[in-house]
């Protein structure tokens, strides 16, 4: 019987840790980055993934994260050198046209809003920055500096349909933000507390009403949003939706869980763990909104060292990308997608 999760290709070109990789919205390209201070652009050539470009002049320290804009024409990179670089995609080449400065030290994560109006970044300096983007990404103006976390902020992500931002931190919490329409100030609308250690990563489902989080406490948590006036009768203070932890998956992971990806097409959840494994979870048929049940479909020894990131492809169901401390990037096919 074939393995449920099969490796399609292994790409061993980075030197040292590969911290992150992210898909182009087309699903036909992705970017990877790491300890070697380079970004590498990968494209599909028939059945093989090949390296199309190396961007090596953007940062002076580790590149922790990369993200393509929703329009697909821009790439942002976040580095331990405290800056964020914006790269313009010009055919097969990439040109660095802006560098965003403002964070005091390591930038850990970068994310573009789906609307194309905003970019978010976060850092060990405990802040989350929201940058407003003018037409064609020519200028980035700081719209807000959110100093609400008590410790480093590890991850920022945007809601799949609205300009709603979420951040995860070393202070064990997740925070949700939005722009206050009355005065254009960014405000924190919810703080999600339940993890017992650093929250390394978070992912929305396709609707944006559910959030999955992974942590150094070796658990995965599923959070449900309850709107104002919800039928369950859950109280919503300040007329803002509340988020409740409705499911905790413990006992599956043996070490820190560094990344989580929730497939917008199949609903499958993949996790990247410090025990070198990738695990895939599927929501059970008997699952309900208020008491969801997730079952582990498969678990595979994926890399020789910690798995740092996992990302489901936005176009091909079951295609998964992973990166590791062992210097490798791997592409996987999940056969039961």
């Amino acid at each position: 019987m074939p393995q449920q999760l099969e490796v399609i290709q292994k790409l061993s070109v980075h030197r040292g840790k590969v911290w992150s990789a992210n898909w182009h919205p087309s699903g036909k390209m992705f970017a990877s980055c790491g300890e070697d201070k380079t970004i590498r652009i990968w494209v599909q050539d028939k059945d093989d993934w090949i390296m199309q470009a190396v961007l090596s002049d953007g940062h002076s320290r580790t590149i922790r994260d990369v993200a393509f804009s929703t329009c697909g024409n821009f790439l942002a990179s976040a580095s331990f050198d405290a800056t964020v670089s914006i790269w313009d995609k010009k055919g097969a080449a990439f040109e660095c046209n802006s560098t965003l400065e403002g964070h005091e030290n390591e930038v850990k994560s970068v994310a573009w809003s789906v609307s194309g109006n905003f970019l978010a970044t976060c850092s060990r300096d405990k802040s989350v920055w929201v940058w407003e983007i003018t037409q064609n990404c020519e200028e980035f103006d700081c719209a807000a500096v959110l100093n609400l976390h008590k410790q480093d902020v590890k991850k920022v992500i945007w809601h799949p349909h609205q300009d709603i931002l979420a951040s995860a931190s070393y202070d064990n919490t997740i925070k949700i933000y939005k722009e206050d329409p009355s005065d254009n100030d960014w405000i924190c609308t919810a703080t999600l507390e339940s993890h017992n250690s650093t929250v390394w990563s978070i992912a929305f489902d396709k609707t944006g009403t559910r959030l999955a989080s992974c942590s150094d406490d070796c658990t995965i948590k599923i959070w449900q949003q309850y709107e104002v006036g919800n039928e369950e009768g859950i109280i919503t203070p300040d007329n803002e939706p509340v988020w409740k932890c409705v499911c905790t998956l413990s006992g599956y992971h043996d070490r820190s869980v560094y990344d989580i990806s929730w497939c917008k097409q199949t609903g499958l959840i993949a996790t990247a763990c410090g025990d070198d494994h990738i695990r895939i979870f599927r929501e059970s048929e008997t699952s309900t909104k208020n008491e969801p049940i997730f079952e582990m479909e498969t678990k595979i020894l994926a890399h020789k060292q910690d798995v740092n990131s996992v990302k489901w492809c936005p176009s091909t169901p079951g295609l998964l990308l992973s990166t590791s401390d062992d210097g490798d990037i791997k592409l996987w096919k999940f056969n039961n997608a």
Binding site: K17, E35, R61, T62, R64, F80, N105, E106, K108, R124, D152, K154, Y170, S197, T198, D216, R255, S256, G274, D275, K304, Q305, D306, D325, D326
Partner: protein
């Protein structure tokens, strides 16, 4: 700089490993053990005193565990005083020395012996955060201090 612990207790060093005929036998299966890990880190220098972590009993062989089936190595260290501000630096030095010396398959954890430091949990969390460790090693000033702690006495 003023010393925090002016007069620390100094202990006798353990004896060198006895070399037997077996050490020369190539066919002998010889997994990494606690003594071997201890030998890698016992001579790390204390940041304050001209003494090694072994001589100050910050490191002891019986506080090291090696699980070769799970590829896990756990080192507990004991700060000389419960409010020692150097504890994070000492832990970082131990971790860096082991990361540089041991095969990459090992999952290494370095933590404070329970009950021996006032900020035990905060320091343990910091030493377990691989992203912070990686970033700190790109800080050239800090790296120089760590390298000085790790450098063996004879090279100084």
């Amino acid at each position: 700089m003023e010393l925090e612990n002016i007069n620390p207790n100094v202990f006798k060093k353990s004896d060198e490993r006895i070399i037997t005929e077996k050490e020369w036998d190539e066919s002998c299966i010889d997994p990494i053990d606690a003594r071997e890990v201890f030998d890698l880190i016992r001579s790390i220098n204390d940041p304050e005193h001209p003494l090694t972590l072994e001589e100050l009993h910050v490191l002891e062989e019986n506080h090291i565990t090696v699980d070769n089936d799970k590829n896990e190595i756990r080192v507990l260290f004991t700060p000389t005083i419960p409010h020692c501000s150097m504890a994070t630096l000492i832990g970082l030095s131990i971790r860096v020395k082991l990361l540089r010396s041991l095969p990459s398959r090992y999952k290494i954890s370095v933590a404070i012996t329970p009950g021996t430091h006032t900020s035990e949990n905060a320091i343990n969390k910091q030493l377990a955060d691989k992203e912070r460790i990686s970033a700190s090693l790109e800080n050239s000033t800090l790296l120089e201090v760590v390298n000085q702690c790790i450098a063996s006495r004879s090279n100084r």
